[in-house]
């Protein structure tokens, strides 16, 4: 049924319909509304036969999910930002053990400086944790991806993260078509665990493995992720068949046919990018967009195929590898190796800074006019003067003090509100 609903509520509803048996979570903005709604679902009995564990930390949340999943239960959690970092050790255990846990990431920046707003630095920091990473462009997709995530996780016995932009999606009210329990039951059958702690058929899970087989166990993790590249489109096609919606999959090309310039991005910024693409197409400029719906595993062949006709690719990403450059950009460069095109890495939307049509248009005009150097990392809407003033301050005095505080004072704000 279509309803006008908050993104977090839509996701909580979708997760409820997937009948998880254990939910272990610790609240953190902007994930909080999701787990609040789920705890309500369990309390009211709407979600039956599910244990909700209010754990003491995110490390506890993931550890409880590992235990539950190892015991053959469908396990779910959600987190953001610092919470995901606190889970880091357990994340690698979940993937290394091959446990089909599903987790929502309400994407938020990582401190310091502390910041509660949206970017992708949390999920990107865990991109190599062995979890599958799916990115939602809208709340409809966020809800739909959870159904697909449980299917995918359980068919391959691999953990899956569904990433949705914090606040931008989690706190946005928009139209979402939510399926019925019958539809979801048909699409997400009960979990049939590929491994399970069963007193009647005892095994251990989590052996110490030495040099004799460690590489081989790790190799199988990689093989499984490669298998996911085949499985994800199959699940997305089945989803479309069942629900009539194109949701999920590996990549989402938008007007890329004959496009000379293609913008690559992940998540909710894609809608804004599509608006810019349409406006530029109306002016006769051959511009397109490529949404990356699945970042891990990296759909290298699909990305290459979508980009191979382009002359230039502009990667707009909400995180970066400090001291190295773009993260998605590096992967795109890998996918387009030997193709005669330039890849531009553009960092945008860090810490909740809005990515606007106007800024994207200026960026693309600059790229088309040859004013952007593809060998350098670019920062959209960077306040260069603010940086310069701080560098100047830092050159003077014996103890110029912390950058964050100095720059906040300079721009005249305290956190989010003007104080003058």
């Amino acid at each position: 049924m279509r309803s006008q609903i908050e993104g977090s509520q839509a996701v909580a509803r979708a997760v409820t319909l997937c009948r998880p048996q254990v939910i272990a979570a610790y609240p953190i903005s902007p994930q909080t509304h999701i787990v609040e709604a789920l705890s309500d679902s369990v309390r009211t009995g709407e979600l039956e036969r599910c244990e909700y564990l209010m754990v003491e930390s995110e490390f506890g949340a993931m550890s409880a999910c590992i235990g539950a999943s190892g015991a053959g239960a469908r396990a779910y959690t959600a987190t953001s930002s610092q919470g995901l970092l606190f889970m880091a050790e357990a994340l690698f255990n979940a993937s290394g053990l091959g446990l089909p846990i599903v987790m929502t990431i309400a994407n938020r920046a990582i401190g310091a400086p502390i910041n509660i707003w949206n970017d992708h630095s949390d999920a990107m920091s865990m991109r190599d944790s062995g979890w599958i990473q799916l990115y939602a462009a809208s709340n409809q997709e966020a809800a739909d991806l959870h159904l697909q995530a449980f299917r995918l996780a359980e068919s391959l016995s691999v953990p899956v993260m569904v990433c949705m932009d914090g606040f931008v999606l989690t706190h946005a009210f928009e139209e979402v078509d939510l399926p019925t329990q019958e539809e979801v039951d048909a699409f997400v059958p009960p979990l049939a665990p590929l491994q399970m702690l069963d007193p009647d058929d005892p095994v251990t899970i989590g052996a110490m493995v030495g040099p004799e087989a460690f590489a081989e166990v790790k190799y199988l993790m990689h093989v499984k992720q490669m298998a996911a590249l085949d499985e994800i489109p199959v699940i997305a096609a089945e989803f479309q068949q069942a629900f009539g919606r194109d949701s999920g999959g590996l990549v989402k090309p938008y007007r890329v046919e004959d496009a000379e310039t293609i913008v690559v991005a992940l998540g909710s910024v894609l809608g804004t990018i599509e608006e810019v693409v349409d406006a530029m197409r109306d002016e006769g400029l051959a511009v397109g967009a490529l949404g990356i719906s699945c970042f891990r595993p990296w759909p290298i062949a699909e990305v290459r195929e979508a980009l191979e006709g382009a002359q230039r690719v502009v990667v707009v990403e909400k995180a970066f590898a400090v001291g190295a450059g773009g993260i998605v950009g590096q992967n795109v460069r890998d996918a387009t190796r030997t193709l005669p095109l330039d890849v531009y890495d553009v960092v945008a939307g860090l810490g909740g800074r809005p990515i606007t049509r106007a800024s994207l248009r200026v960026l693309l005009d600059d790229v088309l006019a040859g004013r952007v150097d593809p060998r350098r990392l670019h920062f959209l809407d960077l306040d260069v003067d603010l940086v310069q003033r701080e560098l100047e301050r830092a050159r003077h005095g014996e103890r110029p003090g912390p950058h964050a505080e100095n720059m906040l004072r300079d721009v005249g704000t305290v956190a989010s509100g003007a104080y003058e």
Binding site: Q4, P30, E174, G271, A415
Partner: protein, 194 residues
């Protein structure tokens, strides 16, 4: 596309107002999107929320920088926030005050904007009377409906009742109606004066 920006203070229900407006528009078969710019939420701190209404699905996710309508829940924000940024000459303004534009030092707005598209509403007083609490957000939506015609009062009331069943919803519905009538009266009085 019709973009609305709502300015308020933490606790006045700016975010809820944007959400309710989106639900009201959706209820009338439109596409709508509401979202906040949360700070570190504190009672009394400036809060901004947005709502877009369109006949087509909405893809755009940037803040509403050039609103077609502005709802100001707290006139004391005038000294703290650039409230009218991006509001064009055709823009609508709903301002919560029991005072006048002149007394607030906003007489120039009457020149910059179309005076027929500006209304002041004592929404806090209306809410105190009808609801027993000084929450101006819902009466301002009633005023918005009367001023812009972009959503009906009925759709606003339905959205309020769905979100707040019982007396809280009914009190808010009464407040929305009083504010709606207040705007209609002041608009018709103005056209009679003219």
């Amino acid at each position: 596309m019709f973009g609305v920006r709502i300015h308020g203070r933490g606790g006045q229900g700016a975010v809820t107002a944007a959400e309710l407006l989106s639900v009201a528009a959706f209820g009338e078969g439109r596409h709508a999107q509401a979202f906040p710019t949360f700070g570190s939420e504190r009672t009394g701190a400036p809060v901004v929320a947005f709502c877009r209404i369109d006949d087509r699905p909405i893809r755009l996710r940037e803040p509403v920088a050039e609103p077609d309508a502005l709802i100001v829940q707290d006139a004391t924000l005038l000294h703290q926030v650039d409230l009218f940024a991006g509001l064009g000459p055709e823009g609508y303004l709903v301002l919560n005050t029991s005072s006048t534009l002149e007394a607030l030092g906003l007489a120039e707005l009457g020149h910059r904007l179309d005076p027929a598209r500006i209304v002041t509403v004592p929404a806090t007083e209306i809410a105190r009377d009808q609801l027993g609490r000084p929450l101006p957000n819902v009466p301002l939506l009633g005023a918005f409906a009367a001023l812009t015609g972009r959503v009906s009062l009925e759709a606003v009331c339905a959205a309020v009742r769905a979100r707040f069943p019982g007396e809280v919803g009914e009190g808010n519905v009464r407040a929305a109606k009083v504010a709606h009538d207040h705007v209609h009266e002041s608009l018709s009085r103005r056209s009679t004066d003219a």
